[in-house]
Symmetry: C2
């Protein structure tokens, strides 16, 4: 195991940061790493907005579901899936943008996630900690208004980056034999894998919370996929020019 | 700039590989890195299928639009957005899976891309080269049949991993000032940035193809977003239990 793999395996989300700004120079390096990621058909559908304005940071922290580290982290970036720029380029060449194509949305969202994860590894290699903020999708219209996003630009998630002021444990993952398969999708051991992981997570939560948190993965999944999440999302995306056909 | 950042910045896709298998031990490390990525609400919606079966590899190479390296790379992985496993877990707890929720699809696809990019950095840190294969989405139904994917499991992309047998140049990216913004989405310099990049890409293609390839980014974008891509995608996803509401 080399040092890069060691670094990647040591990831845990950081939600408490020292009050130290992440310098512009470091951010330039992180952004360059984001840009170096693979991109589908070279579309480069990622736009990154750094929010320095303290009042906007406070508002985003609220909109994300009261996550104070959105305001307090050394830097906060909003990663947007951007089809507006390819649209401009297409029109520059006399083309007509194909609005609302589902595949274009998939391309753009995938691009953004690849780019962001590159930036995350770069940040962690510099001793910084990170936390993804999917909570921005709680209020995508308000976030879009706050950041003046044009149609065809979707705030996929935020990213807190900063100097860690906590040292949490690494969270266990599903057994590798459950998520990594050979030649086809066989699910004969699926329930066993889930049960094994449930036990592990129960112990993990118990030990971290002195027995207070009694939960396991399958219970968490029931809470998550046993109801619609952000049920406004499809209509929001359509309104913003995505996902119409 | 540290060695991790240097590694990330040196990425280019590899499409020609030496006929050397990637060992199971290396793959275990790569998969562990995939699993270490952040995951939304701990859903871990990533299932990775390694395809070793030579006839399946050949078929996937065809389905991806005649990309021979899908068959010849030292390893080939299919990254799937998997809501089937969370569904099983939910039902194990007596819950009813909320089918076709758009936000769940976004969560799952994002999870997969973060995981894959971790695996990519790990692979590249070991001297391996990679190429993402979005072309699997040319024929998602056939790919799903070939790999016995249940409903709620979507093959987002493939990944070739292997020992490079070529040394291509790094492709230039859009100007950082175009993709990285402060506090809000301002597009005053957008067209300038695109034009500047167009010039750069024209020179890049000319020098790589001895003047044969005459293209630029905005022309490529016209070809890509000036028409619907994979127009069957929305119906396919609905049929597979995604994206219905």
């Amino acid at each position: 195991m080399n040092s890069v793999i060691e670094l990647i395996k040591s990831h845990r989300s950081i939600r408490k940061f020292k009050p130290q700004i992440v310098s512009d120079q470091i951010l330039q390096d992180i952004i360059a790493c984001c840009q170096a990621a693979a991109t589908s058909s070279n579309i480069q559908a990622t736009t990154i907005i750094q929010v320095k304005d303290p009042s906007k940071r406070e508002e985003l922290a609220q909109l994300a579901g009261e996550q104070p580290y959105v305001a307090s982290a050394g830097a906060f970036l909003v990663f947007c899936a951007d089809l507006y720029r390819p649209k401009l380029a297409c029109e520059m060449q006399g083309g007509t943008f194909s609005e609302g194509n589902t595949e274009h949305f998939i391309i753009a969202a995938t691009d953004v996630a690849l780019a962001a994860q590159n930036g995350v590894i770069a940040a962690e290699s510099l001793g910084l900690g990170i936390c993804y903020i999917g909570g921005l999708r709680n209020n995508p219209q308000q976030v879009s208004d706050l950041l003046d996003l044009p149609d065809q630009v979707f705030p996929l998630f935020g990213l807190c980056i900063g100097y860690p002021d906590q040292d949490p444990q690494i969270k266990p993952r599903l057994p590798v034999s459950t998520v990594f398969k050979q030649n086809s999708y066989t699910d004969v051991n699926e329930l066993d894998g889930i049960k094994k992981y449930d036990e592990q997570m129960q112990n993990y939560y118990r030990s971290r919370t002195a027995g207070k948190k009694q939960s396991c993965w399958s219970e968490e999944m029931k809470a998550l996929v046993g109801k619609a999440s952000r049920p406004f999302m499809r209509e929001f995306l359509k309104k913003r020019g995505f996902f119409m056909k």
